[in-house]
């Protein structure tokens, strides 16, 4: 097995295109996971037992089944029901939906960690429920949520190769397609690993830095 720079040179352009798709899927998928996660968290905390419990069971179901199966369902089963999604669309929805069940726990814990005295002070000043959320609870709840939300972003990034199963040509799949047609695995797969490292390692350090920063701020307030 000999390392060939020519193969590297050959495969790199396709892999960079793949990287763009990977980053797109990660970022848009994360935005979906955050938005949906907040909605799930609010539904889970609803006073209505029906809403709260059904949200719990739906979240459990999504969390306890593999992302790969969910992607297959979105891409290969939904068309039978007349719903056709582009591969990347299905991938983003799948990632977002799956990880929303994790981010919703972050939102819920963040909101529930705000002391009840804060809710009561807001009520005694006659704040409306949405004003209480917007001006009192969320400003305190969000800073400690940032590090775990950043960590889920990194996890989602690492899970994107699963999208190759539904024909998305992201970073891994771009390399894989080249490998399968040229019977060259060493260079493309090494590059895949390198790309992931180059993005993951600095992001992990950023997440750790965020954690220290916001933990300090949180500790000071309590």
């Amino acid at each position: 097995m000999n390392w060939s720079w020519k193969v590297v040179y050959d495969v790199l352009p396709q892999m960079l295109e793949g990287l763009v798709i990977t980053v797109q899927a990660t970022i848009i998928g994360a935005l979906v996971a955050y938005a949906l996660g907040l909605i799930l968290a609010i539904m889970r905390m609803s006073n209505s037992r029906i809403i709260s419990l059904s949200t719990y069971w739906i979240s459990e179901f999504i969390r306890r089944t593999p992302l790969l199966v969910q992607l297959y369902f979105l891409f290969y089963v939904l068309p039978d029901l007349g719903i056709f999604l582009e591969p990347l669309e299905a991938g983003i929805i799948g990632l977002g939906l799956h990880f929303s069940t994790y981010t919703s726990e972050v939102f819920r814990a963040g909101i529930e960690n705000v002391p009840t005295g804060q809710w009561e002070a807001a009520k005694s000043l006659n704040y409306r429920p949405y004003q209480t959320m917007r001006y009192v609870i969320l400003p305190q709840a969000i800073p400690p949520m940032i590090p775990p939300l950043a960590n889920y972003l990194i996890t989602m990034f690492k899970e994107t190769p699963l999208l190759s199963a539904i024909t998305v040509v992201e970073l891994f799949n771009a390399a894989n397609i080249y490998s399968n047609s040229h019977y060259k695995y060493l260079e493309p797969m090494t590059l895949v690993g390198l790309f992931f490292l180059i993005v993951s390692v600095p992001s992990a350090y950023i997440a750790m830095w965020l954690e220290r920063k916001y933990q300090r701020r949180y500790a000071r307030n309590h």
Partner: protein
């Protein structure tokens, strides 16, 4: 004088624990009331019911002649809607044992924000009023400090200013010095003494500081097990209590035998 608060046959239980038992109680407009009694006797519960933080199981609570926890719909009394409760809450402010300032806002922003959001006051008017009130509680130089940069006594004084900024007709103070280091207690009690002298707001204070209760109150209510045992002007209650139970309580808490 007119009755601003009236509890009529009010009962309240937490699960099996009966906290208030057929309580009748009334407060005249402008009155300064001290609620004293052993811990667990239901004093906090009374304030929390008035602040609408706690519901009642039976009876009626009247505030300014209107039902607090009920409303009339087609001549029938039904449980109060959120809209009715919001209207009733405009009359009432509360200061808590744990201050409950908003930690992400400076002292002055804590006082401005509710005025702007709830009363629709202009930002500049809200600032002026906040400054006046900070001066009243002796904290004009601390307006840009965050709660965590203030001592407990200072935080509590900001919390008092915040409640006052809403111009409530009734102010509720729940053991506002219990969470403070002993050396910070007086600076807060002095603010309350000042308010009692200078303002015609109706005030209900739960306290274990008997010297303060004597200065502050027009009338003292002694509670035990969710019922009023004795009520009267501070001179009567502290110098010459009629009930044995009152005497026992005072003996325990101030040590002297009245």
């Amino acid at each position: 004088m007119s009755r601003i608060i009236e509890f009529q046959n009010v009962s309240k239980a937490y699960g099996d624990l009966q906290v208030l038992k057929h309580l009748d109680m009334h407060v005249e407009a402008g009155e300064k009331l001290a609620l004293i009694g052993p811990s667990g006797s239901g004093k906090t519960t009374i304030l929390r019911i008035l602040m609408t933080l706690e519901t009642i199981n039976s009876g009626h609570v009247m505030v300014e002649g209107d039902y607090l926890w009920h409303q009339k719909v087609n001549d029938e009394l039904v449980p109060a809607s959120e809209k009715h409760l919001r209207k009733m809450r405009e009359n009432i402010g509360m200061v808590f044992q744990q201050f409950n300032l908003f930690p992400h806002l400076t002292a002055i922003a804590n006082i401005e924000q509710p005025q702007i959001l709830i009363k629709g006051v202009d930002k500049s008017d809200a600032t002026n009023k906040a400054r006046e009130l900070l001066a009243l509680v002796g904290l004009e130089e601390k307006e840009n400090h965050y709660p965590h940069q203030l001592s407990g006594g200072q935080q509590q004084r900001v919390a008092i200013a915040r409640a006052l900024a809403m111009d409530p007709k009734i102010m509720l103070f729940d053991e506002v010095t219990s969470a403070l280091d002993p050396e910070l207690v007086e600076e807060v009690l002095n603010v309350l003494r000042l308010l009692a002298e200078t303002s015609d707001t109706t005030m209900l204070t739960v306290t274990h500081e008997m010297n303060f209760a004597r200065d502050f109150a027009d009338r003292v209510l002694f509670f035990e097990k969710g019922q009023i045992v004795e009520s009267g002007p501070p001179n009567e209650i502290f110098k010459n209590p009629k009930e044995e139970r009152t005497r026992n309580f005072l003996r325990q808490i101030i040590g002297e035998i009245p």
